[in-house]
Symmetry: C2
Subunit: 284 residues, 2 copies
Amino acid sequence: MINGGGGRKAAVGVAGAGLIGGSIALAAHERGFALTVYDPYADLEGKVPEGITVAPDLAALAVDAEILLLATPLGALAHVGRQLAGLVSGDVIVSDVGSVKGDIALGLAAGFAGRAEYVPSHPMAGSEQHGWAAARPSMFEETTVIVCPEFATKPASVGKLEAFWGALGGKTIQLSVAEHDRYVAAVSHLPHALAAALVELVGAEIPEALSVVGPGFRDATRIASGAPRLWTEILLANRSAVAGYLEMYGARLDRLRTALAECDHKYLEGLLDAGKRNRDRLNF
Amino acid sequence: MINGGGGRKAAVGVAGAGLIGGSIALAAHERGFALTVYDPYADLEGKVPEGITVAPDLAALAVDAEILLLATPLGALAHVGRQLAGLVSGDVIVSDVGSVKGDIALGLAAGFAGRAEYVPSHPMAGSEQHGWAAARPSMFEETTVIVCPEFATKPASVGKLEAFWGALGGKTIQLSVAEHDRYVAAVSHLPHALAAALVELVGAEIPEALSVVGPGFRDATRIASGAPRLWTEILLANRSAVAGYLEMYGARLDRLRTALAECDHKYLEGLLDAGKRNRDRLNF
């Protein structure tokens, strides 16, 4: 299913050679796919393993690709998608790895309609680092990859993209674009904003306490080292869902303050217990 | 300085054989201290390395100890301290490893006055696990250990306790009891409450999203797996400082919601940037 013609593996093009795009390229190359990458902002000279082609422009990236992955920053997706839409045709499968779908995915779907099979995806991988230098071929092993099937005109296209992610070690799950954005608002975008606000608060109100932090604080705030510009784009692109969860969260913090003021042992233990039960379910 | 008489290392007693007490015992035993442990609730039969003595009661723990570490749950410290105060005398150094000092430390200081040198300490170590089975001798390597010198009548007592923690791999820092409680409210207790509230929210509002979480959510919420009863005690014992930081944090979240509603790119990037700068300073 992920093979091209003649028994060979599919030709894959990756636009954007950052942490995720670079990891896709390295992982797929290692697994025998024919890889071409393109990134107008990354100097890949001498950094790309032998056998990966660096394309000079989007046209060269698109010309032979059977699967095209858009791994640019969120704010560049619409622009790159518009350019690519004029360069592809037929059965080529186009996916993006944007952290928000919403209007961006609707725009890409409209642009690729009749020209390519557009299937948004989102690997729940990454780190606070960025750029090709931080990319690694093991990035997607045991990683959940969300795939949104709603714009595909042939079920085989979704299957082919899922098989590609599966070949890279990912475990795919199908969600609608709307479900995707709600899920990640709660488990990715809200936590990112909360971690940033926590570190900002400590730095502003009691910076001397940063000298005594332990592993709990370190792990709880690691994501706050993510790139501010990329994350600003993400939070704004999903702002209504994020704001909704922020409001629910704020109500919980108000209730927590009341419980502290009233020495409400029962409420506090109930909250911590619910947190522990749900966290323990993750089992990793 | 941390030697007892005759060139041998000091005799150390540990009350409470949980994660921290057990790790102290294992770490100090490995480094040549003479170790005795006591825990009325832990069945240590066959689980303690040869050479560590298990005391049948507090009197047996105290009889020969030159350094006594109280590593019980916070709620048991006052009671155990009162019993021990009747069993010690002279130059014995007593410390606790409680996560909150405040009134508990004041009570212990009053109880030990004239009977022992009481020097509160707090290793910023631990994990979401608990009990002797999770204890490990490397627990304090490169760990910041807060030591509060204000109740000691001789500077040498503080130095001796710092040298003990140093021998276990810790890096000590002296803070007053009041400073300790403010610092850890910001970088330990607040983060714990925030993580618990986040996981509780996701579990209550959108539990299906727990099936797609990535490494960011996992790390940000790991501490939420801590023992609810222990952490309820901690939050209540330090409730005024925790509530103060919660209020400041809530104000930041309100401001964040406004920024999302107004698409305030500049504010959001400023917040994320401040978070990143402070987090990157931690350098680990």
